[in-house]
């Protein structure tokens, strides 16, 4: 705990932490329902899917790439896993594993397109997004698939003590992700590639393979997020996940992950995602209408990143 506090003080996390504190104070003052363990657990459960998929996205973005197809991967996981359980009578566990395997392979395919095929990540994964979306519709014929075994709900809706299981999954995933990115040499390769791909390659690192790996990891976490999602909503829907990639990307970029690659970490990303989650939650608690929510969210985020940028540039001079 002290370690983290120190780290925050030293690193560039200060602005986002301040923002977080600011938001919490603001909403606490205005809404009595806001500051409660219950509500915070709510928020955490709500952001858990974004957070889980975010961990994968960090990997890709560190290498200087991006994966817009994660939303469609989530959709596909929803449909495929639901289909296997309902139409093929599979047990939830193998069905989930197969679904995650599929997105991991899809991620790998994205990686191959980008690393070996040298396609522009933005466009390649956008194409994949379209294809996977189409595929999900075709499999489901546009209809929701529901009626899962009762046990399947546990992952998305269950609790361990007072803590929702998705939150626990998120925490585990985040810790693993942080260790992976910080402490393993493969994680460091992601940073190296984003920072200077040529230099990394010249140092004898097979940057192509490492990049593929980043996308596979991303696929894996999208799959996991998709399963948690499915279990939470308890019905496989072809519209699930629309726009999800944007939530994920904007959250982690707010938390300091650079779209140019080479910069960012799990802690920051999670903080960024939490900020967005709290904003959504707080504004609803305050009974701010949808229209005004858009406006307010825009202004708050703008102020937030403005403050951050100001800090950074102020320090420089």
């Amino acid at each position: 705990m002290k370690g983290i506090a120190l780290k925050i003080g030293k690193s560039s996390k200060l602005p986002i932490v301040l923002l977080l504190i600011g938001i919490i104070i603001f909403f606490t003052v205005l809404s009595p329902a806001f500051l409660s363990l219950d509500n915070f657990l709510n928020v955490f459960r709500q952001i858990s899917m974004i957070g889980i998929a975010g961990i994968g996205m960090i990997c890709v973005m560190l290498t200087g790439g991006i994966d817009l197809s994660i939303s469609a991967q989530v959709t596909l996981v929803n449909i495929v896993c639901a289909f296997m359980m309902v139409n093929m009578g599979m047990h939830p566990v193998p069905a989930s594993l197969v679904a995650i395997l599929i997105t991991t392979l899809l991620g790998t395919f994205n990686g191959i397109l980008v690393a070996y095929g040298k396609l522009i990540p933005l466009i390649a994964t956008l194409c994949m997004q379209n294809m996977l979306k189409g595929l999900s519709y075709i499999i489901s014929k546009g209809q929701p698939i529901f009626g899962f075994p009762e046990s399947f709900k546990t992952l998305g809706q269950g609790y361990v003590g007072a803590i929702p299981i998705p939150v626990i999954v998120l925490i585990i995933v985040a810790v693993l992700g942080a260790v992976f990115l910080n402490k393993t040499y493969i994680g460091r390769y992601f940073y190296c590639i984003g920072g200077n791909e040529e230099a990394t390659n010249l140092s004898g690192v097979n940057t192509t393979k490492v990049k593929v790996l980043a996308y596979s990891v991303c696929g894996f976490f999208s799959g996991l997020a998709g399963i948690v999602w499915l279990s939470r909503v308890n019905s496989g829907q072809p519209t699930t996940g629309n726009g999800f990639e944007f939530d994920v990307i904007s959250g982690i970029v707010l938390g300091g992950v650079s779209i140019l690659g080479g910069e960012g970490d799990v802690l920051g990303a999670i903080l960024g995602v939490i900020v967005i989650g709290l904003l959504n939650n707080g504004l609803t608690l305050l009974n701010v209408g949808e229209y005004y929510q858009l406006l307010v969210k825009g202004v708050v985020l703008l102020l937030a990143i403005g403050m951050d940028s100001f800090k950074r540039n102020f320090k420089k001079n």
């Binding site: 402490k183 393993t184 940073y191 390659n201 690192v205």
Partner: protein, 494 residues
Amino acid sequence: MENNNILSVQEIVKEYPGVKALDKVSLDFRKGEIHALMGENGAGKSTLIKVIAGAIQPDGGVIYMDGKKVEAMDTKISKDLGIAIIYQELMMVPALSVSENVFLGSAVRKGVMIERKEMDRRSRKIFEDLGIKIDVRKPVGKLTVAYQQMVEIARALSKDARILIMDEPSAALTEEEVQTMLQLVLKLKEAGVTIIYVSHRLDEVFQITDRISVLRDGQYITTLNTKDTDKTELIHYMVGRDLNETFPARNCRIGEVGLEIRNFSGNGVKDISLSVRHGEILGLGGLVGAGRTELAQLIYGLRKPETGALYLDGKQITIRSPKQAVRCGMGLIPEDRKQLGLLLDFDLQENISLPSLPRISKGIMISKKREGKMAQDQQTALNIKTPSMKQKAKNLSGGNQQKVVLAKWLGANCEYLIFDEPTRGIDVGAKQEIYKLLNQLAEEGKCILMISSEMEELIGVSDRIIVLCEGCKTGELTKEEFSQDRILSMASGT
């Protein structure tokens, strides 16, 4: 093939559009020798090194390591064979720490986990051996070029290589640091490491190497035993004609004070005053980190000075941005040409015309004719070696790139020029040309402020020298007072 050849290349060919970078080059390197690779800018030295490293694939030819043919060399194989390389271009991951950059691609690890403490410890040790104080936890991007170069050297040293290839490792270093490094190189040689050394500094080459091979225009010319040759002969082989390696004389007609700063502080420098007269070259000396680049940034409006005033031809002017500086007739040749001097993916013509665009445009429309002519003129004037002015800047050799940066400002007719390490990484022939150009510019009455870490250059070119140490002005020398010892003692603040 001789037994004591550790590495040999046979008939290496590498062609780029319009250029034969390597034309059937064959060379042997003996175990435990220091072998210099010499040649003008664009001779093909770096290309040969990249072929050996497996960073680029040759169009033809064979590489033998320990007498065995190496099929399809790549960076991984060369690393495994014990070849370590210091590239001419800095190969850094800016956001990562010094020690992670030192161990880039070969992190110390236990299983999949990296051992950060161990890496820090080992890199600290390497820097100690090099006699350099550096915070190994600091992100490399926060270091100046000189320090990044040190990191590059440390990286090669960290590898316990059998063959160490150094492509202009000294280009960004000061005399003192070069000497420390050279001592280390000699120590490595004693330990049995083979060293291939590329440099444009003849002194270094004669100081440490056993043999010297010369390339010219992509062709192998000859290999000489260092002790059997001298600078004149070597230069002859390199440039294909005789050239004496002294500084061209100049009849200076020094005029009125042109550029003057009074009590500049901020951006790491403290209370600096200096003035440059028309027709004068003012040298700015100091050790790496003395704050010379920072001072140049202040003058050029890139950073805001906290105190102080700037006068151009006696008029006080506040310069807030490079744009304003350029408008007032200033030009800056930055020390890091790749990051700050050039648009690497743009062609030479576009690079050269950039500062002059409004001038050569009709209204807001660029006159392609004038632009082309301007580039052509500069190519002729500076003898830039390239098949076409439509070539991308990144495809030029280091020396020619530097000429392009110069061409930018010459084309813009600047009155006050700041040169930050103008001959870094430039061959003897081109150096001479640039010195001549500096003289010519001075004769035209321009004010020139030249930052240089090469003592001889500083003394040979300047009319007056100012020395900085840790951001403060520690001395000023007139031509009669020039001496290496005096400058050094001022630079180190003693």
